[in-house]
């Protein structure tokens, strides 16, 4: 009898091409996603050495980080020159090396981590990599997915493998049911608040428990997306009927007999009873509240009902870090979180730029007007945008006073023109609140789409539960 395995063990074992005596493995990569910022040198490397992309049919390229999100963006004059060159390079490389490609004017274009699942590229049991740390998103399908550097991008392009050592197994179990107004984003932020940004270092996290099972695929992607903010290389959720239903019929999902064969294997993809965990964390869903971040690290998380903490309440190096964070954020200890005034609202990113996120925000915004200076919705892909228009959500946003943008990373990292001004305070649905992340001197509070919508209406951080309509 073989020893009980975790889901991570199973996927890992199914992809080892070669193992050295010192434990270094060559791991086969099933899907390689590519965007314009971390790939140009890798393609250039192939060109200089006369190498080809080994498996162009398993390689998918899409520009997302640099692209403007305003109309008429296929006019190159809309982009600063260096950004334009990076996007043009991706275009040339994708065509020359013959990989799948969704150019900027293709309706399927969007944030790489939203496009992959949407097109059925991401499937259970796969290994998925991308030169981007939020590749963890794809773990929601029970795929082993993580970010890599530029040299590794080239390595995968040339060999379809990666040199890796196996990580440790960590289980994060969310028991019970989420209270009303609490979402996947609150789960993932709460976990990071609990474990710290290095809590998952060296580990692959499997999220499980009743509250995770109850999440939609969109919600599961939100949870796995931020595994990296907890320090974990990858986050995983075992596939189930919801996963299969989401995948079936997508353009690149298996069909017919292959679908049946795939399904049979996918159903074996869960952690065995008695499998070994190096670390276990359990949180009761009932204890999770709608949360916001107050500082400049994703671990600086508190329920919206709380107060800005006193740096002295921390210990070790965190005291100085918290002091610096409050200074940067322009906040005072003891200030009520719900009294912090907001200038800007950003709804989008690979964390919360999917259709369900837009529905949740629109639900709060219907018939309301924004009180903040500016608010924008940046759908995660052209298809999300089209669907939101069809469902009438776009009109809800526009009527409320939001800008309705084209798909891309946008103000999540402010590499395109969407940036905060110094001191500008933003309620954001993205994943990083680092100093300068959304623009030099910009102040970011992370939260769920519903919470961001609530902040847009009141002009301050707001407990969305106060605004929820009675169920019809």
């Amino acid at each position: 009898m073989t020893a009980p395995k975790t889901l991570y063990d199973k996927i890992w074992d199914a992809h080892v091409v070669h193992e050295d005596t010192d434990g270094t493995c060559l791991l086969y990569i099933d899907r390689h996603l590519v965007h314009e910022v971390t790939s140009p040198q890798a393609f250039e490397g192939l060109r200089m050495t006369g190498r080809k992309v080994r498996a162009p049919q398993k390689t998918i390229a899409v520009p997302d980080h640099n692209v403007p999100t305003t109309e008429g963006r296929d006019n190159p004059d809309q982009m600063p020159e260096d950004s334009r060159i990076q996007v043009a390079a991706l275009d040339t490389n994708a065509r020359e090396f013959g990989v799948h490609y969704y150019p900027v004017n293709d309706i399927r274009q969007g944030i790489v981590h939203i496009v992959g699942p949407e097109q059925g590229w991401t499937l259970p049991g796969m290994t998925v990599v991308c030169g981007d740390s939020h590749t963890a998103t794809h773990g929601a399908f029970g795929a082993l997915a993580h970010g890599i550097g530029t040299s590794e991008v080239e390595h995968v392009l040339a060999t379809q493998t990666l040199i890796q050592r196996k990580g440790k197994n960590m289980k994060v179990e969310i028991t019970g049911q989420l209270p009303p107004g609490v979402t996947a984003k609150d789960i993932t932020l709460t976990v990071i608040g609990r474990t710290g940004t290095a809590g998952g270092t060296g580990h692959v996290i499997e999220y499980c428990g009743e509250a995770i099972r109850a999440l939609s695929m969109e919600g599961r992607m939100t949870v796995c997306n931020m595994a990296i903010e907890g320090g974990a290389r990858a986050g995983l959720i075992a596939p189930d009927e919801k996963t299969f239903a989401y995948i079936q019929g997508r353009p690149h999902a298996p069909k017919g007999a292959q679908w049946e064969a795939a399904l049979a294997w996918w159903k074996t993809l869960s952690s065995d009873e008695g499998a070994h965990w190096d670390k276990v964390i359990t949180i009761a869903a009932e204890e999770i509240a709608p949360v916001v971040t107050w500082g400049t690290s994703p671990e600086d998380v508190l329920p919206i009902t709380g107060d800005v903490p006193d740096p002295e309440s921390f210990s070790g190096g965190k005291v100085e870090a918290a002091r610096r964070a409050l200074d940067y954020m322009g906040l005072k200890p003891g200030q009520k979180l719900s009294e912090i005034e907001i200038d800007t609202v950003f709804i989008g990113s690979c964390t919360n730029g999917r259709i369900e996120d837009l529905r949740a925000a629109a639900e709060i915004l219907r018939g309301q007007k924004i009180k903040v200076k500016r608010a924008m919705v940046v759908p995660g892909s052209g298809l999300v945008r089209a669907q939101a228009e069809e469902e009438g959500l776009a009109q809800v946003f526009i009527d409320a006073g939001f800008e309705w943008r084209l798909a891309g990373c946008s103000m999540c990292l402010a590499m395109n023109p969407d940036q905060l001004a110094p001191g500008e305070r933003c309620a954001a649905t993205s994943n990083r609140n680092f100093e300068g992340r959304q623009g030099r001197g910009g102040r970011t509070h992370l939260m769920s789409p519903a919470m961001a919508a609530a902040a847009a209406i009141t002009g301050r951080l707001t407990d969305v539960r106060e605004m929820m309509r009675e169920p019809a």
Partner: protein
């Protein structure tokens, strides 16, 4: 990756300690699409003034050092950010060997991925080589990777330490990709077997 066997050339003296990767290649050049082409921006903020004009005093702007292939530097070279753009910029300028008393870890490893040999020697020996470097074209330094030696202009031979695996890769021009490609039959076999067991991938 280009092989490294032996090298005889002009060395540029940079006696500063703690030269970090920000100095080697400042952040505004990270939006580039190339690994090559960074040579003109190597040491950009030390090399050019605000108007982009060359600062004549800077070593690499002096006629004797425009084609330098070796750098002799102060302690702790390559500290700071992990950007692979730092070795890319050195290589593109034409530097194949950096000699110092010590290197920052990540930079040290990144060098080997890019065909650059970092040589760590004791202070007295670096001092001798620094003197040679100051003489420009008049004093060439020789580096022999196979024998792990550096020879000064007047024939003093200094031995250096090196991890055998890194030496093997550099001597043969093997990068990680090259090494993995040596296992290409294992990858082929894996793909064939996966084609049977998971044909939908």
């Amino acid at each position: 990756m280009e092989k490294f066997t032996t090298l005889t050339g002009v060395a540029a003296p940079m006696p500063l300690v703690n030269i970090d990767t920000d100095m080697i290649i400042p952040k505004q050049f990270l939006k580039t699409i190339k690994r090559s082409g960074l040579g003109v921006n190597l040491f950009d903020e030390m090399r050019y003034d605000d108007q982009g004009r060359e600062i004549p005093d800077f070593v690499l702007n002096q006629p004797a050092y425009r084609n330098a292939q070796i750098l002799v530097t102060g302690d702790n070279f390559g500290c700071g950010s992990s950007r692979e753009h730092a070795p890319w910029a050195l290589l593109d300028f034409g530097i194949r060997c950096v000699i110092s008393t010590s290197f920052a870890d990540i930079f040290y490893n990144n060098c080997f991925k890019n065909g650059i040999l970092p040589v760590a020697l004791p202070q007295e020996q670096v001092d001798v080589l620094m003197e040679d470097a100051r003489k420009g074209e008049n004093a060439r330094i020789s580096v022999d990777l196979e024998n792990q030696t550096v020879t000064s202009a007047d024939g003093q031979v200094f031995s250096f330490e090196l991890d055998p695996f890194k030496k093997h890769c550099l001597l043969n021009g093997l990068d990680d990709i090259g090494l993995t490609l040596e296992k290409v039959s294992a990858i082929d076999a894996f793909e064939q077997q996966a084609q049977q067991s998971r044909p939908w991938v």
